[in-house]
């Protein structure tokens, strides 16, 4: 019955009153009954905030005791203004999800947080991005040091063509954070444990990391990121190349990591943002449209564009 009625409605797109009133079921008790014309329509909501090129983000973008504090961040790729006056804080021990259609600037913003945009010629970043109160855009900022504090996990798992052990040990080795082999063993072991991979790989630490499954590789990359004990972990669509089970594992891992790190995740899956994050930021055409508690954004978005995007009305 359900399928049948869906079928009817599908053919009828968009539902119009005349065809609906022809349904036999309506006529059955129509006599003297309700002579209503189902419209299936709703007047457009008025209380949602509509913006007309304003530059104010809807919702609370600042948090107490922020790890990252970003103000008026603009990014230009050559003459293209890719990110426009973004103000947002990243809170400690919580997950900030960034959502929005392709090309909205969410990945661009993520890459600002560990100065990955430096690697793209013709990129200019203006505004203030402070990590623990210190400006990371400063000329004297050591980028290698910054990236040790702000780890990153990419969309496609990208283990180095080395052993599982060496993948995890790589960061501590180059940053010189360990003194002995025993220390290093310890870090590799705990990192793999925290990434939920230890039990699966403990007997084959010397096998190549590239021989693992996609989900395992991604968790290896996460283990590699946390081996240098960063303060913040950036994740750029970490699950888009994974199957649902591997995705669930990574999401479960994010939940655990949140107890120790701030996590910023860019995701195309709104359900994933709803599942893993405490705060959600919605970007649209280079602007930060709305940011707020995830619980609120997915039940009660304030901005029309946010509502339209999360309910699947454009994107």
């Amino acid at each position: 019955m359900n399928d049948a009625s869906n079928e009817v409605a599908r053919e009828r797109k968009p539902v119009d009153a005349s065809s609906a009133s022809e349904e036999p079921s309506r006529r059955r008790h129509g006599e003297g009954g309700l002579n209503l014309k189902p419209s299936g329509r709703m007047p457009s909501p008025t209380s949602l905030e509509h913006r007309s090129g304003g530059d104010q983000t809807v919702g609370q973008y600042s948090v107490d005791n922020a790890v990252f504090s970003c103000r008026d961040v603009n990014v230009f790729y050559g003459s293209k203004h890719a990110l426009k006056k973004v103000n947002i804080d990243v809170g400690r021990k919580q997950v900030l999800a960034m959502i929005g259609p392709s090309g909205c600037g969410k990945s661009t913003f993520l890459r600002c947080l560990n100065r990955m945009n430096d690697t793209i010629a013709g990129t200019r970043v203006t505004g203030s991005i402070k990590l623990d109160g210190a400006e990371i855009q400063a000329k004297n900022q050591d980028v290698v040091q910054l990236r040790a504090r702000v780890g990153m996990v990419f969309q496609k798992p990208n283990p180095f063509p080395k052993s599982i052990y060496d993948n995890v040990a790589y960061g501590p080795r180059i940053h010189g954070t360990t003194r002995s082999r025993a220390d290093l063993d310890d870090i590799v072991c705990t990192s793999l444990q925290r990434a939920g991979l230890w039990d699966e790989v403990k007997d084959r630490l010397n096998r190549p990391g590239t021989g693992l499954s996609g989900g395992q590789q991604q968790r290896l990359c996460i283990a590699r990121a946390i081996a240098i004990q960063p303060e913040v972990i950036l994740m750029d669509e970490p699950c888009s190349a994974l199957d649902p089970i591997a995705t669930a594992r990574v999401e479960d891992l994010i939940e655990v990591l949140r107890e120790s790190y701030a996590i910023v995740i860019v995701t195309h899956s709104m359900q994933q943002a709803a599942r893993v994050s405490q705060r959600t930021a919605y970007f649209h055409m280079g602007e930060l449209i709305e940011v707020g508690e995830t619980d609120r954004v997915f039940t009660n978005p304030r901005h029309r564009l946010t509502e339209d995007y999360i309910t699947g009305r454009f994107g």
């Binding site: 019955m1 359900n2 009625s5 869906n6 009817v8 409605a9 599908r10 797109k13 968009p14 539902v15 609906a20 349904e23 079921s25 309506r26 008790h29 129509g30 003297g32 009954g33 309700l34 209503l36 014309k37 189902p38 419209s39 299936g40 329509r41 709703m42 007047p43 457009s44 909501p45 008025t46 209380s47 949602l48 905030e49 104010q56 983000t57 809807v58 919702g59 609370q60 973008y61 600042s62 504090s69 103000r71 103000n87 709104m270 359900q271 709803a274 707020g292 609120r296 997915f298 039940t299 009660n300 978005p301 304030r302 509502e307 339209d308 999360i310 309910t311 699947g312 009305r313 994107g315």
Partner: protein, 227 residues
């Protein structure tokens, strides 16, 4: 609110659900009118018809619940869509209960207890008309997702409540004047109470329209000034 999705199938499914709730409402409204008429005219046939169609009302209730669950499972709606589906689910529950009240009135007639006199009939007929009219307005508001009409229904329910109280007082007066009327008065009081409850269900339905119309409770603040 219900349309405009990229997935037109989702639009269609939501609209189909909406239409079927309105259909169910039409049936329930007819049930209320027939039940009230069965009581005031003391018509056995009408009362039997109400009881037969109560099965249809229950069928609507069961099917619509299933459809709502399916839609939630398959589409994982959020924000306004989720609110709309939950509101429709509550609307169905209100309609189902209104249908139950109509059934109670019909049962009184079928029991063939004490036939109401002209004055009592008039009171029940009057309250029945009010209840049907309230239910009709609530359904119109639900169908068009018309928030202002919904507000009107919520206000008009108070009118029905005071008519109910007045009807009860008149029943009591008649029973005191003529003790042979006591059994009629008790049954009539239950019928009036059922109609009053139907008014409440119409009001609750109107509240769901408001929940669908727009969701958001305003936040304390919008954009914050930095630090």
């Amino acid at each position: 609110m219900l349309e405009g999705h990229i997935s037109r199938a989702f639009d269609g499914a939501l609209a189909a659900l909406h239409i079927r709730v309105v259909e169910m409402g039409g049936l329930v409204m007819d049930q209320v009118r027939e039940a009230a008429a069965a009581y005031t005219d003391w018509e056995l046939g009408l009362a039997e018809h109400v009881l037969e169609r109560e099965l249809q009302v229950n069928q609507y209730n069961a099917t619509l619940n299933e459809e709502q669950l399916t839609l939630i499972a398959r589409r994982q709606p959020v924000a306004g869509d989720l609110r709309a589906i939950i509101a429709m689910s509550k609307a169905v529950a209100e309609l189902e209960r209104a249908g139950d009240e109509a059934k109670k009135i019909a049962r009184t007639v079928l029991a063939q207890g004490s036939r109401p006199g002209p004055a009592t009939s008039r009171d029940v007929r009057h309250l029945g008309q009010l209840a049907v009219s309230l239910l009709r307005s609530a359904l119109e508001a639900f169908d068009r997702l018309d928030g202002s009409l919904a507000l009107e229904v919520i206000a008009r329910d108070k009118e029905l409540d005071s008519e109910y109280a007045a009807g009860l007082r008149r029943l009591m007066t008649r029973a005191m004047e003529d003790p042979r009327q006591v059994s009629v008065a008790i049954e009539a009081a239950f019928a009036l109470k059922s109609l009053e409850r139907i008014g409440d269900h119409a009001r609750n339905l109107a509240r769901q329209v408001q929940a669908m119309g727009r969701d958001s409770q305003p936040l304390p603040e919008t954009a914050m000034t930095p630090d």
